[in-house]
Amino acid sequence: MISIEPVAAPGAPLARRNPVAKLAAALLFSFILVATLDPVAPAIAIAVELALLPLFGVRYRVLARRAWPLLVSAAGILVTLVLFAAERSGRVLLEAGPVVVTSGVLLTALGLVLRTFAVALPGVIVFATTDATDLADALIQNAKAPARFAIGALAAFRLVPLLGQEWQAISMARRARGVDAGRNPIAKLRLFVSTAFVLLVGAIRRGTRLAVAMDARGFDAGTPRTVARRQRFTTADALLVAGAVALAAAALTASILLGTYRPLLG
């Protein structure tokens, strides 16, 4: 269920790129697209993203599984906009009491929904193809992130899959001692909250012990660290970042040339 393992085919040409390069490419690509509210630029971007997907070794089915909540968000955007749009220009398509749906509203909704997808997908793709250890290594070696913090966070990430098992253990321990909620929904909620609290306490306790174990093996002893796993930032990685910027800029330019561009600010 909860897993931070990458889901991509490991040998895929773009999945193999430096994690920092992938992250930078995704962030830059997203930020350029954020600048507009029109449907054209994000539509082009989504087409590009889907076309590049096989190069990341991610299957469309996997992407759909990770991104399905976006569909629900899209529905939310649509409903909200129908009820609360700032401007209702264009032809009136439907009028029922306070609800006025115009072609302008639908166009804005389309823009927002497409933007949500276009901006989120690069991140979904990158994180689906990146291993946490590699990301931490690359952040330290290629992005000059402080090693103590990157490694500390990485060590804590290892606890993620354990939290699920821990939840089960806590529930069983309580049941064995005669604690349960029965059918009462309030009691259920209280039990849920207190289980979550015990889980948090347990996680912090584990963190405290982990810190001692790390100190025992010379973490933070002041000696300069060496690295066992080299992460390189190559020309290909630089090209990936440049390519992401170029593609996003091209999508934006297309929307400006077509006259659909609507700036986010102003």
Binding site: S30, L37, V124, F149, A196, A211
Partner: protein
């Protein structure tokens, strides 16, 4: 406290663990958020009331670790983890996490990292809510009506952050201290004095 601002290993790891635990909660919360979105659609600003959960690590991290950068670090790492777990908003989450962390950080900095009482926590909650609200105001809600949606949504975000993250984060820190897990932190040692 001498060299009080340097993070010990235990500070780093426990801050990370708090962030990771909340990263998992965010991941679940994102699903809840998406699932309730259509339900709240008829008065969407009300959804902002449950917004505060996303901001708890910023306040909790600051109150437990008590070092410059703790709020920012906890909120940011939690956001990165929820992106790694497969959040539908992916990289945007990270930017939001960064901004929200800055909000709480400013509150603790305003007291020069010396006060960690309820009023500080409330201020931290309010400021992290404010930074979250500003981001949403500009980024997510730009196309919505100002009076009936954008402003109420922003205000409710701040209210939610103040109560859930501010007061809630403070209460959570106290309960954690009572269990003894924070004994190696200043937040836990205050317990013995009481």
């Amino acid at each position: 406290m001498d060299n009080g601002n340097r993070w010990r290993t235990i500070d780093i790891v426990v801050a990370s663990v708090i962030a990771v635990a909340f990263g998992v909660i965010f991941w679940a919360w994102n699903l809840v958020w998406s699932a309730t979105e259509p339900a709240f659609a008829f008065f969407p600003p009300a959804q902002a009331l449950i917004y505060g959960i996303w901001l708890v690590p910023a306040v909790l991290g600051g109150l437990v670790i008590r070092k410059p950068g703790a709020s920012l670090y906890c909120e940011l790492v939690a956001a990165i983890l929820s992106a790694l777990l497969g959040s539908q908003w992916a990289s945007i989450t990270i930017v939001q996490g960064l901004l929200q962390g800055v909000g709480a950080e400013l509150a603790f900095a305003a007291f020069r990292y010396r006060s960690f009482r309820l009023p500080t926590a409330v201020l931290a909650g309010a400021l992290t809510g404010l930074s979250a609200a500003i981001f949403d105001f500009v980024y997510w809600n730009k196309a919505y009506d100002l009076g009936s949606y954008r402003l109420p949504y922003a205000l409710l975000t701040i209210v939610s952050a103040t109560i859930v993250a501010g007061v809630g984060g403070w209460a959570l820190t106290r309960s954690l201290a009572n269990t003894g897990v924070l004994d190696r932190f200043p937040a836990g040692r205050e317990r013995a004095a009481i």
